[in-house]
């Protein structure tokens, strides 16, 4: 058999193995994204055929959608800039500490820290609603009243002031997911000789050790973890609506981009406009991830 034929056969078999994944990947991930882009330039009410309107949806979104500019964008920025990095740093610190205790206790503690990732957001709402209930029968209120820290029960989930902090707290609670496991495994696999060499080369304390040895050796896992953190943060973002029990959330206090999309897409049936918001969100996520790649990618 000639070499070329061999190569051809190899290609064909590769594509055969790839085909099922590739078809489904295209159909349910790539095409929807392309579709969203196309729809974003149209007026579409889900009944009539989409009508081309050019940039109108984007112009409306950025110039006359008061809710979007006043609440949704600031909320999303606040939520993602706090919950994302904080959850990520927390995962790293927890992984770093776990790597320094013996295996048995490490496994148990890591399992507990990971366990929130096994719950579903919707199912947990039941639990949060009881814990953060707004009258004195709520567990948190009852506890704080008992300790004398507050005088009246706080409306955790209905107040404009507290909904966002609760959302961030709940997101942080479940931030130790796949990225956390990846970083933990990564730290455990760093070659011990690297540490010895580092100390000979003048690393003086644990902090320098993290900066000069742990983080550089862990870059690939840290990048993976960071990408996962970005995605989780935006996915968890819809939580305000389930917690408050209404879309829009009370005075838009917990309204994030995902909720805004749902509001327009599934409650008002303005699908074209909702798609424009989707595109803006996807671009925003891509920009965040790009930043993350810059931070941890092959810069050295």
């Amino acid at each position: 058999m000639s070499k070329r034929n061999e190569q051809k056969r190899e290609e064909r078999s590769a594509y055969l193995f790839l085909a099922p994944y590739l078809i489904l990947f295209l159909a349910f991930i790539v095409i929807p994204v392309g579709f969203a882009m196309m729809l974003s330039f149209t007026d579409f009410d889900s009944v009539n055929f989409p009508a081309w309107v050019g940039l109108k949806n984007y112009i409306t979104l950025f110039t006359s959608d008061a809710v979007f500019m006043q609440y949704v964008v600031p909320n999303t920025l606040k939520f993602s800039l706090i919950a994302g990095p904080l959850g990520y740093i927390l995962s790293f610190i927890m992984a770093w500490m776990l790597a320094q205790i013996p295996k048995r206790s490490r496994t148990v503690l890591a399992l507990i820290l990971y366990s929130p990732s096994m719950t579903s957001g919707v199912a947990m709402t039941v639990i949060w609603k009881v814990l953060f209930n707004g009258d004195q029968t709520g567990y948190l209120n009852s506890l704080l009243l008992n300790w004398g820290l507050i005088r009246e029960p706080v409306q955790w989930l209905q107040s404009t002031e507290w909904l966002m902090p609760v959302m961030i707290l709940v997101t942080l609670w479940s931030s130790m997911g796949v990225g956390f496991l990846s970083m933990l495994a990564g730290i455990l696999n760093i070659n011990p000789e690297l540490y010895e060499a580092g100390y000979i080369d003048g690393v003086k304390n644990r902090f320098q050790e993290i900066v000069h040895i742990t983080i550089p050796s862990l870059k690939p896992q840290m990048l993976f973890g960071a990408v996962m953190a970005v995605v989780n943060t935006f996915q968890a973002g819809a939580i305000g609506v389930t917690l408050a029990g209404s879309n829009p959330t009370p005075q838009y206090a917990g309204q994030l981009v995902l909720n805004h999309i749902e509001d327009y897409g599934f409650l008002r049936y303005e699908m074209g406009y909702a798609s424009a918001i989707s595109v803006v969100l996807l671009i925003f996520i891509a920009v965040c991830s790009k930043g993350v790649f810059k931070l941890f990618g092959d810069s050295d």
Partner: protein, 290 residues
């Protein structure tokens, strides 16, 4: 001094210097674990304890009242309780099996085959790691509609099968399999399919197990298909039924039932993860993005 420092990672036994880590890790684990413990406690509370004021975190007389109530309520609806469970179990099983299969195929091609678009496909997949599905619900609905999947059971499975994270982890793991091994098999006359089944799959078991866990978690918890693509209640899943409890069940009995349902949702995830957690850790060792 220097050599002692390096041995601090992955220690084999307890040493007093580790106390400071425990001092932070244990409180963190307790804080994280409390809501989980609360699911158990709340689900097992008899009605009078759900009413209790001031509320008590831990159950004192555990009972199965809430579970019984849940079964009763579900039975009084149009769809019998076993139907929801059957749908959940079938859709989860099918999703897990098919995802593992197509991910293993694709991972093998991307890790071990030589073809032109290989790097391009892998980097597109890496980009898709940041894909947030909820953002494109509308166009996805249109595609599901066009493919004729609306109101068919398969809609639980087919749109969920391509999982970029899964492929990413499996491909990275399969990269570790030495090429010589596959070459040797080829020289011995093994077909591609044989090599895949007898060498590649057995050697990538941990990464495939990790895909099982991740897919199971999503498939078991998701309500997307039931909520958006299915109109008949007898095609919907338990996860969906449970989500309707969170919106309607605001009375005290409803809270108990919802907690019981939450517990039922959580337990299978926990068991699967505990059984397979060793595989996860060895997969994650190769999870870096290079």
């Amino acid at each position: 001094m220097a050599s002692i420092q390096g041995k601090k990672m992955n220690p084999t036994r307890f040493h007093p210097s580790q106390i400071k880590f425990y001092a932070i890790l244990i409180p963190m684990a307790i804080l994280t674990g409390l809501p989980i413990v609360f699911i158990f406690s709340q689900a097992l509370k008899p009605v009078n304890e759900l009413y209790l004021y001031p509320p008590r975190f831990f159950v004192s007389n555990p009972s199965l009242t809430s579970f019984r109530k849940l079964v009763e309520t579900m039975n009084s609806s149009d769809v019998p309780i076993y139907r929801y469970f059957f749908n959940s179990i079938m859709s989860t099983l099918l999703t897990v099996l098919c995802t593992v299969a197509i991910t293993a195929f694709a991972g093998y091609a991307l890790a071990k085959k030589k073809f032109r678009a290989k790097n391009l496909i892998f980097s597109i997949n890496t980009m898709a790691l940041m894909f947030v599905g909820a953002a494109v619900k509308i166009p996805k609905y249109l595609i599901v509609y066009e493919t004729g999947l609306i109101d068919r059971f398969a809609v639980h499975v087919i749109p969920a099968l391509a999982m970029p994270v899964g492929l990413f982890l499996v491909k990275q793991f399969m990269d570790q399999i030495p090429d010589e091994l596959l070459e040797a098999a080829k020289i011995d006359g093994a077909t591609d399919w044989y090599t895949f089944r007898k060498i590649v799959v057995p050697l990538s078991k941990s990464s495939l197990a990790t895909v099982v866990i991740l897919t199971f978690q999503t498939a078991w918890n998701t309500i997307e298909a039931s909520e958006l693509y299915l109109n008949h209640d007898n095609l919907k899943t338990f996860a969906y039924y449970m989500s309707t409890l969170t919106t309607t069940g605001n009375d005290v009995a409803g809270i108990g039932m919802a907690a019981a349902a939450t517990l039922i949702m959580f337990i299978p995830n926990l068991i699967i993860f505990i059984v397979m957690q060793n595989n996860v850790m060895s997969t994650m060792a190769h999870s870096g993005i290079k």
